[in-house]
Structures are given as structure tokens and as C-alpha cells.
Amino acid sequence: MGKLLSSLDSAIQQIEDGATIVVGGFGLSGIPENLIHALRDKGVKDLTVISNNCGVDDAGLGLLLENRQIKKMIASYVGENKLFEQQFLNGELEVELVPQGTLAERLRAGGAGIPAFYTATGVGTEVAEGKEHKEFDGRTYIMEKGLVGDFAFIKAWKSDPFGNLIYRKTARNFNPVVATAGKITIAEVEELVNIGELDPDEIHTPGVYIQKIFVGNHYQKRIEKLTTTNA
């Protein structure tokens, strides 16, 4: 079906300075490692990146920060990243902090053709400033807008050639919503299976959302906080 990429070069080649890219993952779990590396190598600048976190200093989206490729970051939590702080205080980096549930819902809304919705999250806080307020049944809500990126980068466990995806455990996180919120969505996966091999009842992301598929050959899957019963 022509979705399968043998290298990320051609896909990344389309991305220009100033593009908006939505990126899946939570912390360093379920992040599209190969896509981030390819984007770092391509060196495209002035990106707006929408992702729950911004990696750590030497991994994940932190690599793009290190390379000064990000102009604006839309995220819910960026506390793991010293470079982030530095660039933010320098005025090099613009930041929009969004509550995590609102971020997830804004991406789902963007992908689902919903331009805006109301939520109580953030009412009475900085997050509500400048936003439309409305009462429903005596409770106050604010209006939040759907988000769509020029590109969406996601990571899944298994894909078939149509782009039907299955994620593994909590590496699912933002990936399924991010998948829907890109004009062009590129999925990198650990394993490609034949068409018909995935049980249609178990598919998490139907292939309709996926424009390109890349099978990564090495996943670092770095652990941020190793906690064990005996540690």
C-alpha cells in the first residue's frame, strides 16, 4: 500500500523550518526514538513541538533542544530537563503549559474534527486567563481548542502494512491521540506483521490515521527512574 518506508530520509525531508510536530510518548516511554534522531540529524529549525514532555537533557526531545531546533514547546510537564529551563530563561524558547488531560483532549479533538470544547480543568488558575468562560448547570468551564500538527510522530509496538497499530502496556500513552492529530502521521514500530495477522478486535489505532510506517531496528528504551522492590 506504499506506506512502508525503508529509511526515514524521504519522510523527514518533507519537514521544513517552522513546522508544527506533535510527538507521542510519556517521559521517555513510548517515544518515537528513530524519528527524533532523524529530525535532529536533518537539523530543521524553528519547530513548534507539541508533546506531553520534552525528554531529558540527552535523550528524547531533549536532543532537539540541545540542537536548538525548537522555537515553541506545548507540553504539560517539562521538569526533567535543565536545557529547557536555560533556553526558556534566555528567551530562546517559547512555552505553552497545558494541563495533561486538556492536552490529551485537545489532540483528540483536533484529530476528531472538534475545533473546541469546554472543561473545568484550569478554571480559576493561570490556565484560564484570556479564555472564554461559560456556565453549564451552575458550574464554570473554560473553552479549549483542538490541536493539529503538520506532522505527527508516534511509536507503536506492532504494525501491519496498512498501519493498523498495537501498542504495548503504558508505552501507549499519548501515541493513539497523537496519531489522529497530524496532517501527516509517521508511525515507527518495533515489528511489522503481515496484513490480516492482527486481530481486528485488538487494534488500537486503525490504519486510516497512518500515512507512513517505519520499522526501527534499535530501540534504546531508556528508563528515567528505575524502581524495584529490592532497590
Partner: protein
């Protein structure tokens, strides 16, 4: 020691059959203290309902973490889901209880726990969603800061996480509940007097009649 008292009191908020979200940091420690005969499902907002204990060294899985990015396990009956579903669950009022840390609490039930102006901006994560969505919000924190100043205030001075959202506050000195009629002292921690609580609290509060009798 004072932390242990807070945690021991907090775990009593958890009842059989509940779905509970424990905030990052001190609240996470409550997980290990839940009595084994209670059937409780812990939710992690990155997409897991049914957090199990930390893994053995050979069970560690980078694809299985909690909202604090710690490696965890999933208990029997657990489910994985995406972030939109996770917050549908939270925002939609399907989580029975959230126990969260606090930096400041006001007498109106406002919570500030995500940002100190002038310090590194970390972001609010899922805290603003939890305080608006979960059915019951319990905040646990030290009563005073390291300079001896009350963290239980008339009004919060730090940026808010949510306004009028707290149902219960548990500190190392006391337990308060919040309602339409304001903030009420309902319990004292072991060995603490009402006078001690009053002198360490900036907020105005009433004292529960049942407490007066005991005291």
C-alpha cells in the same frame, strides 16, 4: 515520623472497591500501606488502572511506568489505555479519590501545588485535571514550611492548581474538612493540641464539636 503520621491517616481515606489516583511524590508512598484485604485499583494517568508493586530486577519493563516515570508492574485485573481515555476517566468523575501533595492550601479549599514563581517552570502535569475531576480530593502536606510559616492560609500566595477543590486536608498536625460553611478541624494528630494547630495556621477554621469533646 511526621510524614509517617500523615501517610497513616491518608491511607484511611481509601475504602474497599475504590479507584484511586495517588499523586507523584509523598502520595505515591501510600500504595504500599493499603491493607491487603481492600480491593483497590490505583490509576496512573499515563494509562494504567491497576498499578502493582515495583518490579523485581528481572521484571523491569521500560514500557511499564507510572505517572512519576518509575518502573512499576500491573496487578491482576489491570487495563492499559491512552491518555485521552485516562483523563476521560478522571475528568468524567469516575475516579473515586485523588490524594495529592500540596504547597499551600487556603481556607476556601484552594490548592497550590505546581509552581513557585521565579523558580524553574516544571508544568502542572495532570494535577489541574485531577482536582477538578476526581470525586474526592485529599491533600497531604506538612503544616508549616521549613521557615516555620503556615502553609494553611487565608488565601494562597502561589499560583493555583484549583479553586475550591479540596475536600480534606491532612497535615502533620491535624485533619480538616472543607464544605460550603468553610474549613473545619476534625482531627488532631497524636499529641497535638488545638492551640498548636491554631498557632500554626494562618487560615480561619472552625473546630468540630466532636473534636472539642474529645479534646
Amino acid at each position: 515520623m511526621s510524614r509517617q503520621q500523615i501517610l497513616e491517616r491518608a491511607v484511611k481515606e481509601i475504602q474497599d472497591g475504590m479507584c484511586v489516583n495517588l499523586g507523584i511524590g509523598m502520595p505515591t508512598l501510600i500504595a504500599n500501606m493499603i491493607p491487603g484485604d481492600l480491593n483497590v485499583m490505583l490509576q496512573s494517568e499515563n494509562g494504567l488502572l491497576g498499578i502493582g508493586p515495583y518490579p523485581n530486577k528481572d521484571e523491569v519493563d521500560p514500557d511499564l511506568i507510572n505517572a512519576g516515570k518509575e518502573t512499576v508492574t500491573a496487578k491482576a485485573g489491570a487495563s492499559f489505555f491512552d491518555s485521552a481515555e485516562s483523563f476521560a476517566m478522571i475528568r468524567g468523575g469516575h475516579i473515586d479519590l485523588a490524594i495529592l501533595g500540596g504547597m499551600e492550601v487556603s481556607e476556601k479549599g484552594d490548592l497550590a501545588n505546581w509552581m513557585i514563581p521565579g523558580k524553574m517552570v516544571k508544568g502542572m502535569g495532570g494535577a489541574m485535571d485531577l482536582v477538578q475531576g476526581a470525586k474526592r480530593i485529599v491533600v497531604i502536606m506538612d503544616h508549616v514550611n521549613k521557615h516555620g510559616e503556615s502553609k494553611v492560609k487565608k488565601s494562597c500566595t502561589l499560583p493555583l492548581t484549583g479553586k475550591n477543590v479540596i475536600h480534606c486536608l491532612i497535615t502533620d498536625l491535624a485533619v480538616f474538612q472543607f464544605s460550603e460553611s468553610g474549613m473545619e478541624l476534625i482531627e488532631l494528630q497524636n499529641g497535638v493540641t488545638i492551640e498548636q494547630v491554631k498557632s500554626n495556621t494562618e487560615a480561619d477554621f472552625t473546630v468540630s464539636s466532636s473534636l472539642e469533646i474529645k479534646g
